[in-house]
Each structure stands twice: as C-alpha cells, then as structure tokens.
Amino acid sequence: MAKWKLENLNEKIWNFFASVDLAVALFIVISLAAAIGTVIPQQLEPEATIRFFSKFFSMDTSLKIHEIVSLLDLNNVYHSWWFTFLLFMFALNLVVCSIDRLPNLLKSYRTLPQALSMKVLESMPLKKQLILSDISHLKEKLSEILKRKGFSVNVFDTPEGIQLQAKKWSKTRLAVYLTHFSIIVILTGALLGTFFGFRGHMNILEGTALDFIISDEGKTIPLDFQILCEKFEVEYYENSAVPKAFRSYLKILQKDKPVMINGKDTVILEVNEPFSYGGLTFYQASYGFQPTEHAEFRFTFLHEQDRKIPIRVKFEEKVRIPNSAVLFSVIDFSPALGIDEEGRLFNMTTDMINPAVLVEFDNQGKKTQQWILKKIPQTWDTPYGKLRFDELWGAQFTGLQVRKDPGVPFIYFGSILLCVGLFVSLFLRPINYFVIIDKNKVTFYSPTLKGKVTIEKQLEEIIKKLKGEGK
C-alpha cells in the first residue's frame, strides 16, 4: 500500500514536470519577473533606489517599499536566487518533457504503420467527402498523385473500404526536440560563464603598459603579460563631434618583449572587432582624456625645400626652432577649440575633436603668442616658419573591456541549433492525409490543426487531379 502511494506520488511529480501547463505558467511568471527588473532600478546603492521611489511616493512609503524590494531582491532580479530557481525549473521542465515524449515519437517511426479505426478518423478536424462516377483504378491513381507530390503512401484493406495513408515530412517533428535541446545548451553556456568566467576593464594611458585588470566587482586580477598601448586615435566625422571610429595600437609584452600575433607585433583594436589572447578577449570599449607628465606635443616643422623636421616637446618646455635663435614652448592646450558667437575662443569638450595649442615664441626677448590648430592649416604659419601641430600624444587612455567566458562556444553552438530547429519545425510541418475509398465514395481526413485552410486548398488540388484523370 505504502509503495503504491509512493509510486503514485513519483508519477505525479513526473507528470507535473512533464506538462506543457507548467511550461506555459513559467513563460508568464518569468516574463513578469523580467519585466519588474526593467522598472525597478537594478543594482544601485540603497540611497539611489530610495530616491527613485521617492519620486512617486512619500519618503516613509519609499523606505518601506525599499525594505520589501531588498528583501525580495527586486533590485537585483536577474541574479536573485528565486529568478535562478525559475530558470532552473524551466530547464528541468524541458528535460523531463522531452524524456517523457521523445521515446514515443521515436517508437512511432519504428513501428510499422497500421490502419486507423473510423473513430480516430472521424475525430480529425478536417474531413472532405466526394462521390466519383468513374471508379476504376481509384487507388492506383490517388497513390500516384500523392507520390508525385512527395508523399509516402501506405495502403490497407479495412472493413470500411481501402484505407490510404499519405505522409510527408513526418520526421520534421524531431526538430522541436532539437529546439528544446538547444535551449538547454544555451542555459549550460550561461551557467559556465557565470561560474568560470569574469568581466573587467582596463584603462591604458597612451604610451604606457598595464599588467592587471579591474574586474566588474572591483577586484584586481593580475595578468602574466603586459599590454602596451602605443597609440590611440579617434576619427571624427567632418565638421562634427560624432566619432567615426576609434582604435588602439596595442602590443602584448612577455618579459618586456613584444609577442607576435598573426605574424605582427602590433594589434589594432577597433570597436566591433575584438581580439583574443591568453584565454581572454579584449574589446575596444571607450576612451578618455587624462593629461599627465609624460604627455608630449608633437609638431612638424615644415622647412622650405620640403624638409620636415619633427619636434617633440613637453608642456612649457622650451625648444629652439631649427636654424634659428627662436625658442618656442607650449603654454596652453585645448582638445576641442571652438569660437563662440562673439569670436572668443572656448573649449567644447575633452574629446580631441579640434586639438589646438597656444605656443609662445621667444625671439631674443621679444615674445609673441599664437594658437595653432591641428585641423586648420592656415594657423600653422608663424613668423618663424610653418609649424604643423600633429598631436598630443600620451594624454588619452583607451578603455578596454576584458572578458573570459568558457560558456561562449556553448552559446554560439546552442544558437545555431535553436535556429535550425525552429526553422525546420515551423516551416516544414508534417502533412498527413488519410483516405477511405469505399466503392465510388472517397473520404479525405487530415489531423492538422495548424494551417487548415492551406491544407484544404492542397486537398482541393488533389481532388481536382483525381477527378480530371478520372473522366
């Protein structure tokens, strides 16, 4: 008795997890939970969360709401234990449901087809009957028509007449299981990433090297190599502050020696074009302005006869202009020099949209000042020759996103399976026809629920052919 009860309970639990009802319930519950997470601010400081609620409620209520919210992890929905639990239930539901049904489906492919009873046929949603005048070779004609349309045909003799079974694409039902399996693969990948991966970032100043990452949790993760940012550049659209592209020229250093990657010692990292090294993947994420001591103003002195002489100076450092006694120095810098309506100069942003330097010339005590703008050649003309301002090197940092995620291959593989499975299961539906030929009376049945109208049309075509050849 006790054993029977236990088995009964086992079966109940199994059926619970095998049911589509649970799946549908989970679709709704997970959706609602996910939606909550887009409304309540996530992963903020308590003060910020309370401030958010106080926009809608009084301070007292906000505090109380915040208490409930943090108790239920509503300010960190996607990483909360209960959301993880829901996803776990979802996965379990899928696995159990597949184990419950797949064997039956596979068995149905292996067992020989059998004639169906009239009761089963009559319960099918589609039925069409016609009376034919010419009844010679009906069976052969119909089989021929169906076979030409790609159906496989089985014929049985039953008390009600000849039963013809036509099937097409019946194996495509397996694709649903591929779809479901792919979701498990994707969830596995996500799990691997959570437990064995991490994300972080590093901001490398132009001209310097770093050998550690700051993880998203704020921890320092050492690297066994160094990344040197040799150069960083941003391109802007013409006459606009919209960046067109930005890229870093990086070197990987092992014991201060550059490592060759794909036959080159420099990696050019751009947005949307990550690169991998040492199990980590690096992404060009951001950049910023950070003037430091080692920053260097780079000029080219354009001598007559096409001679170009590079000049590099630090801030306020005095250098002699070639072949003259004139000293010059940089006394001010603007990354984005603009001119306002009254003709005054001002700095627009810290992005190097329109870099400009204010230089001071010292010709034996006679001092003059002049703005030189990188992008405006007219400003390169100075009383002492043509001085082109090339760049301020070493004043920007490149922001790299770094990631290690062993789950990514699973995600990609699962995604491919998901797409293949969905396309097959939704575009190549199995089609079944059952036909009873009873003397001059032909009855068509089809079990389809989806696309009844299309099936009806197809059936009419078959009937037309049958009649056309019957005459």
Binding site: V20, A23, I30, A34, V271, P274, Y283
Partner: protein
C-alpha cells in the same frame, strides 16, 4: 529629400484606409482594386524613398552595406511599414481576401504619423562606431520583418477574437472592440495633431487631442475616445457580419494568425535574439546583459512561445490563443517604442 517622399507614401496609406472601408460597405469589387492599387502605389513610392535615403547615406558613409537605411528609430519605423504593407499585399494575393486592408493601412498610417509626432530625427545621421556592424544590420532587418509578420498576425487575431466572442460582456469582445476603437481614434488624433502643428520641433502625440492645453478640448477628446469605444462595443457584430459576407471565417483568421507567428517567430529568434546577442558580444563583450531592450525582447519571445505552446494545453481552443497573439503584438510595440520612451538602456540605437 527622402523623408518627404516617404511622408507622401504614408499619406497614400492613410488614404487607402477609407477606400477599403467603402469597399467593405458597398462590396464593389472595383473599389477593392482601388484600395489595393493605392497600397501598391504607396509601396512603390515608399521603395523609391527608401532608395533615395540609401543614396543620401551613401554620400556620407561611402559604403554599400553601411548605407542601408535602418540605423535609427525613424528609419526602422519606416522599414517596418514597408515590410508590413508588402507582407499584407502577399497575404491578400495568397488568400484573395481584402478585408484586412483597413487595419493594415491604419497601422501603416499611424506608424508613419508617429515619425512626425515622436520628435524623432529624420535627418540622415552619421554612424557612431558601435553601430558599424554587419550583425547589427542583420539583427535590425530580420527583427523588423518579424515585427511586420507579428503585426499581420495581430490584425487577423484581433478579428478572430472579435468573431468568436460569445457576447458583448465577454472579455474577448471588450478587448478586441476597445483596441479597434483606440486604433481608429489614434489615427484621427495623429492626423489632427499633424494638421494643427505650429512648431515643427515641438510636436507631440495627442498634443491637440487628449493632451490639449485647453481643458475643454481635452475633455472633448477623452469623451470622443470613450464614444469611439462605445460605438465599436455596441456595433462590433456589424464588423463580424461584414467579414462573414466576404467569406472571412474563423478558420481563415486563425490560420493567418498562426502563420504570421510561425513565420515571425523563427525570424525574431535568429534576428532579434541571436544576432542581437552576437552583436552585443562583439561590441561590448557580453552576449546578454539584461538591458531593458534585451529583457523586453525576451519577454516578447516568451509571449509568442506561449502562443505556440498554448495549443497543446487542454481546453485552449483557437480564439483563446488568438488573444495571446493580440497581446503579443502589444508587447512587441512596447519592446520597440515603449522601452525607448519609458525605460533607459544601452540601446543608443533607438534613442530619439
């Protein structure tokens, strides 16, 4: 300019709506062809505007792939309408039924009207680096084709729900007539908003109707909305009767609802979710980050997965599942517009 051409196409879509209504009321075959003709001309002009837009972008980007105009909210709305009308014309041709033309031209008109009223920029904009990705292109294109398929399934589903509801007190009947009424009110409001605009830059949806600064007009508008709902609620059966006279029955509606989703769901999965994840992976180093746009895409996906599975639940017959198709499209709209309007996130793509 390309957007002026596209506005003309939008105008033609709006004009197609009353033609279809007259066709349904008079049952004159010729008027039906006129409606279809109007949509066809609209699509041709629309395509021309699309190509023009492509040329304008090519002048900035000098790259074929980077110049396909689906890079911001305006362009994506316009592309959505193009897919919707083309998709509808295919359905009309395949099933030989013109009845949905009313609602499809209505949605097309509202969408083009929204581009005027949401204050989205219609200028050709240079692409920021993160948007320069072929994955993004595939992501957006497929997503919007899927959205258009969902829209068609929504139209059929709405009629299906209406046709199969038992009586005026049933939830299904109230839901479907209210949505229909609201859509008709919305298109009128959009037209009035556009006609009464004074300052091109500060137009807002409902600025002249529900949100009018004059209390009198505002109350009048709200009453009009309620009146619309009442009229549709009271005489919803007329719509059903007309549909039946055109041999549009519940089976056909259910099938188109299903086909729209069966077509849109895989496209949305591969385009919206998978390609979106790959793009995010390449651009930001994460394939999934629970950003509001991503989260709402997932919710949309779940709603339609719900639809596909609901048929396997005991006792869930056709029209109950069509309610999900209707709700699914409302969620889709929220994912597409609502998230940008009400929630913030990383998707600078959709910013206005």
């Amino acid at each position: 300019m390309s957007y002026q051409i596209i506005s003309i196409a939008g105008l033609i879509y709006i004009i197609a709506m009353p033609i279809y209504i007259i066709y349904l009321l008079t049952k004159k075959e010729k008027i039906g062809y006129l409606g279809t003709g109007a949509l066809c001309i609209g699509v041709l002009i629309h395509l021309f505007g699309f190509i023009q837009r492509f040329r304008e972008m090519y002048e900035i980007n000098h790259s074929f792939i980077r110049s396909i105009p689906i890079t911001n909210l305006y362009e994506s709305l316009v592309f959505f309408v193009l897919c919707l009308v083309l998709g509808y014309l295919i359905v009309e041709w395949k099933y030989g039924k013109k009845g949905f033309g009313v609602i499809v031209s209505l949605i097309a008109g509202i969408a083009i009207g929204l581009t005027e009223l949401l204050g989205v920029t219609k200028e050709v904009q240079p692409l920021v680096p993160a948007l320069k990705s072929n994955w993004l292109l595939a992501h957006v294109t497929l997503s919007f084709i899927a959205y258009a398929a969902f829209a068609i399934s929504f139209v059929a589903g709405l009629f299906h729900v209406l046709m199969t509801s038992e009586n005026r007190k049933s939830f299904k009947y109230i839901l479907s007539t209210t949505i229909l009424a609201f859509m008709f009110f919305l298109i009128l409001s959009v037209i009035i908003d556009m006609a009464t605009v004074e300052n091109q830059k500060s137009i807002k949806i409902f600025h002249f109707t529900l949100g009018n600064s004059s209390l009198f007009v505002a109350i009048l508008s709200w009453s009009a909305l309620l009146a619309f709902i009442f009229v549709f609620w009271r005489w919803g059966e007329v719509i059903v009767r007309i549909l039946k006279e055109f041999k549009i029955d519940a089976n056909l509606l259910e099938e188109i609802t299903y086909k729209g989703i069966a077509f849109g769901f895989p496209l949305f999965t591969i385009g919206g979710l998978v390609f979106g994840a790959i793009w995010a992976d390449q651009a930001w180093g994460r394939y999934w980050g629970w950003d509001p746009k991503e989260t709402w895409s997932l919710i949309t996906w779940f709603v339609y997965a719900f639809y596909l599975h609901a048929k396997f639940i005991r006792g869930w017959s056709g029209s109950k599942t069509s309610v999900i198709a209707v709700v699914g499209f409302l969620v889709t709209i929220f994912t597409y517009l609502g998230v940008n309007l009400f929630l913030s996130g990383l998707h600078s793509y959709g910013s206005m």
